[in-house]
């Protein structure tokens, strides 16, 4: 009872009075502003789902449908007579990709060369987070191509594949880098002979490590570079592919203008069938148009 004497009791009551008053007062004060997901995924590592030829780790949001037109002209070194390759033989690929979830997309495309249909998926296993708890982005890609050119091949002979692991990081507001070990495989390849000598030997399987980078010029414009060195056995005269590109984003469109080696437009073909060397001047002009629609 002693502790409840008037002298000690009064401060306790005053404390309670103040606490309750302040407690009531906080209801009237502004509620603290909090971000819903401060550690969420970082914004676009790349503006589109491709760097140039190789896929980027960027995936489509759930319910988004991306329509792509990829076009590559003839070689620029054909000169002014052919308008730097514009008159030359061109390859074109139409593609549709759909975001099943924010981390998984599927797609289909059709290229003019080989009358190739390709079916693909991309899955983001890890997302780089704003709070740095996850420092990288990790994605897998698979692609199966079916050559439909009339040539008497069996169905299984017409198939080719790509598998890729994409590791990327947005290093800063401006710069993103990506490394992509990948493997391409063709069920059927050919070898040309000149008497007893093999003149041209095609390998069925190629290993490569694609390197890609992006520099944002501003929020809607980016410069990209891509280099795809092949390791181990390779098809005769195959060169490492190289490309540079300019991305321009306008609303639901991403336009890409590029200079690249190879007239193929799928990764497995570019790895295995590129005979052009960028720094010898063997490159081509091309463009990509991406248009995103919502199916939500």
């Amino acid at each position: 009872m002693k502790q409840f004497s008037g002298i000690k009791y009064r401060p306790v009551c005053l404390f309670l009075f103040l606490a309750l008053s302040i407690g009531a007062g906080t209801v009237q004060a502004q509620i603290p502003r909090r971000l819903v997901d401060p550690g969420g995924p970082v914004d676009e590592l790349f503006l589109s789902q491709n760097i140039v030829v190789t896929s980027s780790v960027s995936n489509l949001p759930a319910g988004n449908l991306n329509f792509t037109i990829m076009h590559v002209f003839g070689r620029v070194d054909e000169g002014v007579q052919s308008l730097w390759g514009v008159d030359g033989p061109a390859n074109i690929r139409f593609g549709l990709d759909y975001g099943i979830s924010d981390r998984l997309s599927i797609g289909v495309g059709r290229s003019q060369f080989d009358k190739l249909y390709d079916f693909r998926f991309k899955a983001n296993l890890l997302r780089q987070s704003k709070d740095g708890k996850m420092p990288i982005e990790l994605a897998l890609k698979g692609d199966m191509g079916i050559m439909t050119e009339s040539n008497g091949f069996e169905f299984s002979d017409r198939l080719n594949y790509l598998g890729a692991v994409m590791l990327a990081r947005r290093m800063s507001d401006k710069i993103s880098l990506q490394v992509s070990p990948m493997i391409s495989h063709f069920n059927t390849v050919s070898t040309e002979h000149n008497g007893e000598t093999d003149m041209h030997v095609e390998e069925k399987t190629h290993f490569a490590v694609a390197l890609g980078g992006r520099i944002l010029v501003n929020d809607r414009v980016a410069l990209l570079v891509e280099y795809i060195p092949v390791f181990g056995d390779r098809t005769t005269a195959t060169e490492n592919a190289f490309a540079v590109a300019l991305n321009i984003e306008t609303g639901g469109h991403v336009f890409v203008i590029y200079l690249k080696t190879s007239d193929y437009l799928t990764e497995q073909h570019v790895i295995a069938r590129n005979s052009e060397e960028f720094f010898r001047g063997d490159f081509r002009l091309g463009f990509i148009i991406n248009r995103v629609f919502s199916l939500n």
């Binding site: 008037g6 009791y9 009064r10 306790v12 009551c13 005053l14 309670l16 009075f17 103040l18 606490a19 309750l20 008053s21 407690g23 009531a24 209801v27 009237q28 502004q30 509620i31 502003r33 909090r34 971000l35 819903v36 997901d37 969420g40 914004d43 676009e44 489509l60 949001p61 319910g63 988004n64 929020d219 984003e249 306008t250 609303g251 639901g252 469109h253 991403v254 995103v292 629609f293 919502s294 939500n296």
Partner: protein, 185 residues
Amino acid sequence: MMVRSTAEILVFIAFIGAQTVAGQSWMTQTGTVEFISSVPFFTFTGTSEHLTGVINLADSTVDFYVDLSTLKTGIGKRDKDMRLSLDIKEYPFAEFYGKLITDFDRSIPDGQAAMVEGVFTLHGVKKNVRLSGVLQLIGDQLVLDAGWDLNLEDYNIVPPKLLIVKVDEIQKIRITATLDPMNSQ
């Protein structure tokens, strides 16, 4: 004895006061914000389910905000355009803080017209506004439905362009929320 009684009375008054305020406060963190944007030939809608706010009938305080990064239009690229236009890195919230200036009778079960007056802040620009809506007490929950037109120019926001087509400056805003009594949270 007199000292003790006075102290007890103060505590009692404060306690009753706190209960009264808490008993007349409602809160939500899952309200809906919707905006409708027009461009020539079509409209699109952006939605967030993260409207957070408090309505306190004891002192008529109304305090709401939304994390603008949670607004989704259905197309990722369009969301990015919106985030750039709103400059949400610099100004992550849209918020209103003000007072309910109409009476609200808790004994009436139907929705009642309500008007608030206060400061609406967006893109770092503060504007005194007067907004109207409907408040309804359903059980112990307070249901809010309000809408108004927002002119992007008033908040120094340049409407984004979809290719060459410019989004209309007037955005139709609607907020709906079911607020729970704060003493039950």
